[in-house]
Structure formats: structure tokens, C-alpha cells
Symmetry: C2
Subunit: 208 residues, 2 copies
Amino acid sequence: MASTAAERPARVSGIDKIERRRVALAESALKTLGELGYARTSLREIANNSEFTHGVVHYYFRDKIDLISYCVRYYKTKCARRYDEVVETATSAEELATGFLGKMTQTLVEETPMHKLWYDLRAQSMFEEQLRPDVEEIDKLLEAMIWRILSRYADLTGTSPSVDAPTAYALVDGLFEQAVVGYAANPDRTPALLTDRLMQVLPKLVTA
Amino acid sequence: MASTAAERPARVSGIDKIERRRVALAESALKTLGELGYARTSLREIANNSEFTHGVVHYYFRDKIDLISYCVRYYKTKCARRYDEVVETATSAEELATGFLGKMTQTLVEETPMHKLWYDLRAQSMFEEQLRPDVEEIDKLLEAMIWRILSRYADLTGTSPSVDAPTAYALVDGLFEQAVVGYAANPDRTPALLTDRLMQVLPKLVTA
DNA sequence: GACTTTGTTTGACAGTTGTCAAGAAAACTC
DNA sequence: GAGTTTTCTTGACAACTGTCAAACAAAGTC
């Protein structure tokens, strides 16, 4: 089956078109989900906020969980490589820290709905088993992302990390989640507070 | 009006009875909420899992948010003093750390549903403004709780805290939330991992 | 250009939700 | 113990949900 599909470009582009529709649906769904949250977002609401009708959603996705799951996986591909450039180009610890904090506060401000949705979905995964594999996978990705940053930071300071990867991730994530929750109530101050707090913590995560 | 009520014990006990009913409703609702999460819990489900009918719920609470809000506030009174005894009786840093970690893993295991609910509600508060004041208040309470522990820990080690209160709370909370999320997937290992990670972190939160 | 496949619209379904109101039952008052 | 107030039950409502299927349009195939 896979071989025949590979032999026929028309078929492949057809599959591609399906995939593109799915992506379009997912992007639209993510917009709605980010605004309303998982609980208050219905398939009809997603369809209304898109150029499609609610029937189309069901044509491309088996059911609601299938759609959400696809959205989460799609989202994941966009977020975990956010700091890679900073990590690769930084030539000093300060440059790395500044770049990291800059990007972090930037995404906090510019992609607030996505972050809200992520923390919402992770909470939902505690109650909805079907979400767990996706959430777990993203959590691992984010953990690795933080670990790359911390490792590089240790390299540049001539030290080595003083906590393991899961711990480092939990600490940084705790600060970031606090900022995301706080951002809703106090958009002005929160980014600066996040920067300040991470600055307090970062040096403590490597051996003196 | 308040004075007449104070003068008439019958009336007072009547109000008390209302309050007791509310507490009973709230306790039952918290049980259901902890199992199903905010999104999947309906007033009828709450009523079904209690000895009351769904009409009673509406008799004692204006609407759903009113009930949830009451539940959250009721819950708060039970959780933020959890470590007070340990803080007061510990005579050495190790005793404090051991007692703190013991109580923390204990509540992680024994009150999992409540903690799941808390993180769920905090996520919901990002989308539902009406929940925000209650969530904010509890967050402050928990922050103060962590700060009391850290201050005492610093006292007993002859040091002083090296991060401010919001930072300390965010860090510890990040580790605890990671444990709560992880506990669903892996109940056996998680408590030990939480202990281990907090042990890594605690010394870093005070000046050397 | 007929025919098949693929994609889309529309409307319907069964179930659930929060909310409310009318009336029964119980508690209380005098 | 009649009358009043409080408490509770029951049934209803309108709105909304996920799901599906039948009719319709478009694209592709021979």
C-alpha cells in the first residue's frame, strides 16, 4: 500500500492536501482553544471561527479527542526549538542568559494563549487519560530544551549543572507557569518579574 | 439586622444550619470535582454523588461559579496550614527537611484528587475571570506557607533565604506540580523522586 | 461526457447542561 | 393546631454538546 502510494504522485499530493486541511483546521482550532480553553471550546465554536463548517471537522478528524490530540502534536513541533538559535550562537554566559530571558519573555507576551492552553491541557491530562501520551511527550521535549540551555550555560561558565534535567525543568517551568498565570492579571509587571526571578535562580543551577 | 440575629440564638443556629448544609454540599462537590475535574463535573453529577437532589444545590448556591468558588475557599482553609506543626517543632534543619518532605509526599499520595483539582482550577482561572480572586488568594497563602518553611530552614542552618518568597514558591510548586502530574502515570516512583529533587534544591535556596 | 471518488453542506439525533419555578413536605411560630 | 416560613422535590425549559448521515458539489478518471 505504501509503495503504491509512493509511486503515484497524484495520490501523494492528495494526501498532502488532506494534511494541509488538517493543519489549517488545527491552526484555527488552536486559536480558539487558546482563547477559550479546553473546557469551553466546542467543535462548533472551532468551526465557526474558521472558514469551514462543523461537518468538515468531523470529516478530517474522527472525534474531538482526535482533533485536540492532533493540535497538541502540531503545537509541539513549533515550540520546543524556540531557544536553539540562542544556545548555538551565544559566546558568553551573559549573552546566553540575556538571549534566553529575552526570548522567554517575548513568547510569554506574544504567545500567551498558546501557553495558557498548554497548562490547561496538562491539567486536563490528569483527568483525561487519552491526552496523557501527548502531554508526556511534550513535557519530555521541553525538559530536553531546558537541559540544552542549562548545559550550555554551564559550559560557558566553566561549571556543570548542579541539578538533574527533570529538576531543572520543573523549576524553570514553575517560574514560567507562575508568569503565565500572573500575566492575565498584571501584563505590565510580569515579564520583568520573570526575568528577575530567573536571574536569581539560574546561577544556582550550576556548581559554583 | 446583624444585631437582631446576634440576639436570637435560634436564628443564629438557623444560619449555622445553612452554613453546615453548604459545607456538606461543598465537601461532596469537592469529592466529585477531584475525581472528574472542573470541566467534566456538572451540578447534577455533584448532586447524584451526594444525598441531595440537584434542586438543593441551586437552593444553597446562586449558580455553578458560586458553588465552585465556595468550594475553593473552603478547601483553602484546610491546606495552607499543613506544615505548621513541622515548622514549629523542628529543632534542626534535617528534622525540618525530613518532616516537610514527609508531609509533602504524604499529602501527594493521600490527597491526590485535591491537588489535581487545584492545578485544574488554577488553569481554569486563566480563562474564567470569576475564579481569579479565589485562586490568587490561595496562591498567596501557599506562598506564605513555603516562605515560613524556608525562613525556618534558614534559621536552623544559620543562613538566610537566597531567593524571595514568590520565587521560592514558584520553584517548589513547580516540583510539586510535576509530581502530581507524574503521580497519575507512575504512582510508585513519584514520591521518592519528589523527595530527591526537593533535597537537591532546598540547600540552594539559602545562602551558603 | 458519463461515472466514480472525494470533499462539503446541512439538518437532524439523542444526550447533557445550567437554570428556574411550582408545589409538596417539613420545621417553626404563636 | 392553624398559619407561616423554610427546605426540598420534581419536572420542565432552552441552549448546547458530539456525532452522524443523507443530499449535494467538485474533482478526478476512463
